[in-house]
Symmetry: none
Subunit: 207 residues, 4 copies
DNA sequence: CATGAATGAGGCTTCATTCAT
DNA sequence: GATGAATGAAGCCTCATTCAT
């Protein structure tokens, strides 16, 4: 008469793991700490995850999913010109991330994990997919602006999206390094300039 | 002094450490491996570095210095319009980084190290300083463009520089994740749009 | 609790540690040796003791407790004149110690530990307390002899007790150095002379 | 044309070693520290001593010799009754030792060394010899008192000497453990009682 | 299913000793 | 003879993982 596996137990562990990994980093975090944070026994974790690395990957997946969910909500709810929607997207994403700046250390850990064997490819692929998703969303916004004749620049929307998302990523890094860094202001300036560029023709000879 | 002791022994160790850390990550790298890569005994490393972490920080410092050196060379050698010089800067930096893409994993490790105790502040401060340096160089290029009436946008040069540098950083990350990612093309598009924006007035009502 | 875990595991480890430390000395003893002697895994020791030094201190405490227990038994069971009881105490203590002469090396190690950082004060305080205990027991025996007019010498019982106990200690040392040393005979002579002195007035002019 | 070995260099090293060993204990002392204290290079020590243990033994020998030298001076210079000479001996020895109480930690180390292989027998034999020497000196003082009819007790002088010396040893230990311990007072009481006992017949039936 | 006691591989670090200069 | 850079053996300790209850 085994008690049915509590479906929330796994989630509970991941929550505890996110907090602990974010605070201390992957290597420095011990399974015992995660177990204690989750209020369960050490061995129980191994009932739900094959290994420490497995648990790590699970926390990664959850964060990725949460972010994508956030992006979907934004792109569905905001209306108006492409410029407006892009700005809204930027602000929402950055605000959300800023509100969870403490998680950024965890993202850094994930990136770092892509460098270290043996799960390198696993993390790398997941990251790549997540970026591709974000890119697609942003690029489609830009493409809409072009279709509506709001943007005249003849550029590859995907490339602009890449750079834009990249700048968000990097702004977060700088905020992580320096709590006084003006993320939203810098982002505003960047997107202002970028949108101004998109609204005009880019004369080849000018560059 | 007894055996003259290779005056470059310390440098030799750092070189070996860079290669090893980059390949396997900080945690996964053992002192024994670094020693072997350097062709010396395990104990010798401790003649030059107090601890594994100290060695790690030394590799970090060296890479930072090398990059700054590279930037200085570029900003001194390239002439022409601000747009041209910015593009040259972007291309040079990115090309240099691309050529050492394998080191990017190491940078990820460094970032990650800023999250993990106990050297957190040490790395964080060094990173912050390095970014400030880069920002200053790029911002001064933008400022020159404004002085020469090449750029009309009324924006904070430092903020644009932040976003620009951030995008380089993030493009490298994506290249690291995906070897097929078009770093230079994306950068070109991004800087084209950005420069186009800088050359025009940014009408407040337009955003 | 999972495996019930031998409730005496900690004691078992201490026993093994006593034997190993006594035989090889503190520095020369490795945790691996103690673990093997205890028939357990290396890591298990760290479930019960924070460090090698902690284990060492635990062995020390146990030996101290055992000796005090021995003294209590003697002082409670022997009856008769103070002289008789003091002699009985001396003989019992020395016999007990002689029977465990192999432990004396361990006591030397403890003494030595009081000299070496960083646990110096810990051991020193414990030793001091143990000596104070023994002193109190012996001094009270002498004091009883004075109350009963068996001893006429006007001396500080505590000082005599100190010297007496000290002589036992030192006799053990000499036995440890020289297996042929006549501990009990020497002690007998010493206590005979000492008791004879206690039974007479000590004329100041005579000294 | 090798410079002749500085005959004082060896002595200089031993002096430095005594200070260092006494302060930090044998294990905790590194050859590098001794070398630095002696103001010479690490390697130089190995020109004069085969190993760290050899150096340790040399410091031991020197301390033993110094103490014996001290005893000889006392036994030659003091005149008067046997009681007086014994008291003088006790006071001189204890005062000398007290003045160098910091060296006592080193003696403890030596004792401890007799417990730990592999030089066990070497130290043990030297200690045994040193005690035999001291015993002989003290016993001869007692024997003189018997010959002069100052002492009437029919006891073995060597046994009394053993106990007496042992008590000195142990008093030092207690002083080492407790800086407030009254060494000289306790010794005075002890020797008073002991001498009183020696001056009287010890009636067998009395014990 | 849950637990946590037990385990042992493996890492960092120390330091006595060597030996080229 | 003097030196100290180089070495590597060896030890303490951590912690992911297992498994008996």
């Amino acid at each position: 008469m085994a008690r049915p596996s509590d479906p929330n137990k796994k989630k509970k562990i991941v929550i505890a793991a996110i907090a602990t990994f974010a605070q201390k980093g992957y290597s420095a975090t011990t399974i015992a700490e995660v177990a204690e944070a989750a209020g369960i026994g050490k061995g129980t974790i191994y009932e739900y995850f094959r290994s420490k690395e497995d648990l790590f990957f699970a926390t990664f997946e959850r964060l990725i999913l949460d972010t994508e969910h956030e992006m979907d909500k934004v792109s569905e709810s905001v209306v108006g010109s492409a410029s407006l929607r892009l700005e809204a997207m930027a602000n929402t994403i950055l605000s959300t991330w800023l509100a969870n700046l403490n998680l950024y250390g965890l993202v850094l850990e994930f990136w770092s994990a892509t460098a270290a064997a043996p799960s390198r490819d696993r993390f790398r692929a997941a990251f790549k997919a997540a970026y591709a998703d974000m890119r697609a969303v942003v690029a489609s916004l830009i493409r809409e602006g072009m279709k509506d004749d709001e943007f005249h620049a003849d550029v590859d929307p995907v490339k602009v999206a890449s750079a834009l998302i990249g700048s968000w990523d990097a702004l977060m890094l700088q905020a992580w390094l320096d709590p006084d860094f003006d993320v939203l202001g810098t982002s505003q300036t960047h997107i202002d300039v970028l949108l101004a560029g998109l609204r005009h023709n880019i004369v080849a000879g000018e560059t």
